[in-house]
C-alpha cells in the first residue's frame, strides 16, 4: 500500500487515525494538535492564572505522566508562568504503588518538577496492605478512594497549592457518566462532566484532558517514548467501572465519537431544583476540619471503624449504628491531623491565561 500523507501538512507520512475526527495525520502534526487542543481546553475554561501554583496528581501511570509532560510543554511554550509540582499519594500497596512511585521519581528528574509524596501511613496510620489484611478485598476500594481524595487535598495544602490537576481523560469521564446514570446518582452526574470542581472553600480540581481520548494519550506516550507504569492494582479492581469501561470500548469500536457524545449527554442533563434541594449542605468535619456533608467526614468515619475493629461502620448504616451503640469514640482514638486550607498563593494578575501565544 502506498503511504498516505498527513491530512494536515500534506507532507509527511500519516501514522495515526484520530478517533475524534477520523483524520489521518503525521507524528509532528499529532503532537502539535494534541498539545494545542489541551491548551485550548485550558484557556477556554480559564483554568489558570499566571503565577498559579499547580499540583499535578501523579500516579506514574500513562495519563498523569502525559499530563505532566504536556503541562510542562505548554507552560514553557506559552510562557504561562505556572509553578508546577508533582503530588503523589502512596497508598502503601507493596508490588504496585512502590513500583509506580519509582516512575514518578524518574518523572521528577525528567521534568525538573518538585515532587511531594504523601503516604496513607503517615496521614491515617494505615497502609492499604494493612487495611486489606484486616477487612479483606471486598470494599477496600471504598477506603482507598475516600482516603486518596482527602490525601490529595492535604498534600496540596502542604505544598501551598490550591489547584490540583488530574489526568482524567475523555474515556474516564464518559465511563463515569454511564456509571452515574446507571446508579441514578444525580448529584455526581451533574458534577462529573465539569472541567473544574470547587466546593465552598476547597481546593480546585481540574481535568485538562477532559476532551482527550485515551487512544491519543497512549499514542502520545508511545511516540514520545514517555516513561510510565502500567500494572493493575493488585487488590480487587473496581468491577463496576470495569463493566462500564468494556461497554464504552465496544461502543467506541463501533463509533469513535461515542465517547464525546456521552460526555455531551452528561453535560446536557438538567437537574430540577427540587432534586438539587435534597442534597446535603457542606460543612466541616468536627474531628479533622475537612469538608464533609456530615458531622464526621467519610475518612474519619472509615478510620474510626478501622481503629475500633469494626471496619464496616464506614460502609453500611447498620454497621454504623452498631458502632454508635458501643458508645462514643474513645479519647485516645487515632485521628487525622486537622486540615488547613492553603492560603491563597496567587499573587499575579487575575486574568486567565489568554489564548495568544507570545509573539
Amino acid at each position: 500500500m502506498a503511504p498516505r500523507l498527513c491530512a494536515l501538512c500534506d507532507n509527511a507520512r500519516a501514522i495515526l487515525k484520530r478517533p475524534k475526527t477520523g483524520q489521518q495525520i503525521c507524528k509532528e502534526c499529532f503532537f502539535y494538535v494534541f498539545e494545542t487542543e489541551v491548551h485550548n481546553t485550558i484557556t477556554q475554561a480559564g483554568l489558570f492564572h499566571p503565577g498559579d501554583r499547580i499540583a499535578i496528581g501523579a500516579s506514574g501511570g500513562k495519563d498523569s505522566t502525559v499530563l505532566a509532560h504536556v503541562m510542562k510543554t505548554l507552560n514553557d511554550r506559552y510562557d504561562c508562568g505556572l509553578e508546577l509540582f508533582l503530588l503523589s499519594i502512596d497508598e502503601g500497596i507493596t508490588g504496585y504503588r512502590d513500583d509506580s512511585l519509582e516512575t514518578v521519581k524518574r518523572n521528577q528528574q525528567q521534568y525538573d518538577m518538585p515532587l511531594k509524596i504523601l503516604s496513607y501511613d503517615e496521614l491515617y496510620g494505615w497502609t492499604m496492605d494493612r487495611i486489606v489484611s484486616q477487612i479483606g478485598k471486598k470494599n477496600n476500594c471504598t477506603f482507598c478512594g475516600v482516603f486518596r481524595r482527602q490525601a490529595l487535598d492535604r498534600g496540596a495544602s502542604m505544598l501551598h497549592v490550591d489547584h490540583i490537576v488530574t489526568g482524567h481523560n475523555a474515556d474516564d469521564i464518559a465511563e463515569t457518566v454511564l456509571m452515574n446514570i446507571m446508579r441514578g446518582d444525580i448529584a455526581r452526574l451533574g458534577r462529573c462532566t465539569l472541567i473544574c470542581t470547587q466546593g465552598e472553600d476547597t481546593i480546585k480540581r481540574s481535568k485538562p484532558f477532559k476532551y482527550a481520548y485515551e487512544k491519543e494519550i497512549v499514542m502520545y506516550a508511545y511516540f514520545k517514548k514517555l516513561d510510565y507504569f502500567s500494572t493493575e492494582c493488585i487488590y480487587s479492581p473496581d468491577a463496576y467501572r470495569g463493566h462500564a469501561r468494556v461497554f464504552l470500548k465496544d461502543l467506541e469500536a463501533a463509533r469513535p465519537s461515542a465517547i464525546i457524545d456521552i460526555i455531551h449527554s452528561g453535560e446536557a442533563f438538567e437537574v430540577k431544583n427540587e432534586v438539587k434541594a435534597t442534597q446535603k449542605a457542606q460543612q466541616t468535619c468536627k474531628r479533622c476540619g475537612y469538608m464533609s456533608s456530615n458531622e464526621l467526614c467519610k475518612a474519619c468515619t472509615l478510620l474510626e471503624g478501622l481503629e475500633r475493629g469494626m471496619a464496616n461502620a464506614g460502609i453500611t448504616d447498620r454497621a454504623r449504628k452498631k458502632l454508635d451503640a458501643e458508645g462514643p469514640a474513645p479519647e485516645n482514638l487515632r485521628t487525622i491531623p486537622m486540615f488547613h486550607l492553603p492560603s491563597s498563593s496567587s499573587t499575579g494578575p487575575s486574568t486567565p491565561i489568554s489564548l495568544e501565544a507570545p509573539a
Binding site: 500500500m1 487515525k17 489521518q24 495519563d63 494519550i217 508511545y222 502500567s230 500494572t231
Partner: protein, 108 residues
C-alpha cells in the same frame, strides 16, 4: 518459507506474555490450508493475532482476543503506524515487520 517479526507488548499486555515486552517470532509466510498447497494466501495480521494466542500467550486469552480480533482498547501499530491506517487485520505481513500491541485498559 517463513517470516521473522519483532513483537512488542506494552501498557500491561506484556503480563499475558510471560511478562516480557519484546519477542522475536518466526511464523509461516503462507496461511495453512486444509486443501493442499495451492491458493495459500500470504499471512495477515489477523493470522498473527491467533498465532500469538496459540504460541506465545500464557494466560487470560479473554484479555487479548474478543470477537475474532484484539479486544477493544488494545492499540496496534505496524512499523510505528496505527494499524487503522494499514487495513487492520487484513494487513499483509512482511518479513522484518515490527508489530506493537499496547493495552489502554490499565490505570492512569
Amino acid at each position: 518459507m517463513s517470516l521473522s517479526l519483532k513483537i512488542e507488548f506494552g501498557g500491561g499486555l506484556e503480563l499475558l506474555f510471560s511478562n516480557q515486552r519484546s519477542h522475536k517470532v518466526t511464523i509461516p509466510s503462507r496461511m495453512p490450508s486444509g486443501q493442499g498447497s495451492e491458493n495459500e494466501r500470504p499471512v495477515d495480521l489477523k493470522y498473527l493475532i491467533f498465532w500469538l494466542k496459540d504460541n506465545l500467550l500464557k494466560e487470560r486469552v479473554e484479555l487479548f482476543i474478543e470477537n475474532e480480533t484484539v479486544r477493544p482498547g488494545i492499540l496496534v501499530l505496524v512499523n510505528d503506524t496505527d494499524w487503522e491506517l494499514e487495513g487492520e487485520g487484513e494487513y499483509q505481513l512482511q518479513d522484518g515487520d515490527e508489530i506493537v500491541f499496547i493495552s489502554t485498559l490499565h490505570g492512569g
